[in-house]
């Protein structure tokens, strides 16, 4: 019996939907849906301590697969250039719920949704380790 590792709950875009709808249509659908339910409050309050902890997690622990300088490793690069054009909601979903079939695990036991959003913004703006 084979299992995909790295995630217990599948994000919607990697589930059955993906297999039925072409990638492009799926993305459009996803971004559309995202616009509807994306919180408009911007960044939630994250304490400086938590920000430090999240940066540390990003560099040291995400870094074990994505490279400490985020240039990639077993996992893809997470540099600003590499992530250009990727919807924030998709990145947040991947962080929180992982990518089944790949080693990317769900990190939702380590951070809140707001904290994942904060990390996504950090990455999209070009996180400097």
């Amino acid at each position: 019996m084979k299992h995909s590792r790295g995630g217990q709950s599948a994000p919607p875009f990697t589930g059955g939907l993906m297999s039925r709808v072409s990638g492009l249509i799926n993305w459009t659908l996803l971004v559309g849906l995202a616009a509807l339910c994306w919180p408009s409050t911007g960044m939630a309050d994250i304490s400086p301590d938590r920000e430090r902890a999240l940066r540390h997690l990003l560099v040291q622990d995400c870094g074990s697969c994505h490279g400490m300088t985020l240039q990639g490793g077993l996992g893809p690069a997470l540099t600003r250039t590499a992530l250009a054009g990727k919807p924030a909601i998709m990145l947040r979903e991947v962080i929180l719920h992982g990518r089944p079939g790949t080693p990317m695990p769900p990190w939702n036991t380590f951070m809140s949704e707001a904290e994942a959003d904060w990390l996504v913004q950090l990455l999209l703006n070009g996180a400097s380790p």
Binding site: S4, R5, D61, T69, G72, G73, L74, F110
Partner: protein
Amino acid sequence: MKFHTLRSGVAVIVAMFATACSTATLRGTGDLGIVIERASGSVQVVETSTRARLARIEGLGDLSHASAVFSRDARYAYVFGRDGGLTQIDLLEARIVRRIVQAGNAIGGAISQDGRLIAVSNYQPGGVKVFDAMTLEPVADIPAVYGRDGKRSKVVGLVDAPGQRFVFSLYDAGAIWIADLRDRKQPVITKYNDIGKQPYDGTVSPDGRYYIAGLFGEDGLALLDLWRPELGVKRVLQGYGRGEAPLPVYKMPHLDYWAEAGGMAYVPAVGRHEVLAIDTRSWKEHARIAVAGQPVFVVARPDGRQLWVNFALPHNDTVQVIDVASGQIVQTLKPGKAVLHMEFTPRGENLWLSVRDDDRVEVYDTENFSKLASLPAEKPSGIFLTPRAHRIGQ
């Protein structure tokens, strides 16, 4: 510079040597090693006899997933950096001898049986590159091309094997390749496909006979008998998860040095809080030992009496010791935040471990588990001691 030449008593050489390494005392390297400082691109030279730091060498680039092998004279370390850097370090003079950046993204390397070749496994561009150990001049380039459209796979689990061979696994291709470099100008590649999904690392038995690749994408391991390579790769421990969904994996397990004791090989179970014991005659599961978290490294003390295990997040503050004779956990240590690597002294009376987030390297007595020393280090990860110079697969 060979040390016995100093015996000729040429004062100038002695003086030069004294200047270069700040001590004129002749010494061996058998109790030396290096500690990778992953965040600062530096390594420490350490000595296990006095449990001391001797020197710090900077300028090695991105060491976020660095490993090292040693020249057979155990004087030089070759450090493989994440950024494709390959750096030759002189342990005695505590300096960089040569450094090249040979790829965009690398994961590790190996030294050949005769000590003359250094092979590096690369993620980007995926493949293996081989260099002359003395000059770091390129010798061979082996792109890990697979499939019909010529894609390149990330390469993992690169080890040396007898017969001037390097063995490695192709993560994306699900393949194991053997590169025979007896003729260094014309490497002969043997390829095994469909060995299993997503091999994440590989290791070779201390006698150089068996190569095992751990599989991330399925429950099982891929086994290749290098004495009988014509028999191909077979799957062992298939379905060890017994149909249970694995846990998410927050750090990839590693198969550093083959952990064998009492006829059993011990490997981390992927996505499970277990160490698997494999009977090395039948290659069937012998036992599984419940541990505190998902194992990252399972290392055997050189006498095979103990296994030391560290863990992935969120249990990476813990180390457990398994007594091989009883199969029981006899000690649970909490050395600190993010224990990344463990290395035994040559005959196993001590174990050195790195505690990344506490910026320390600690030394433990393996009989009574007392802490013998705590040395400062900047975000330490891998600890590599020179006895590796004389072991197959290291």
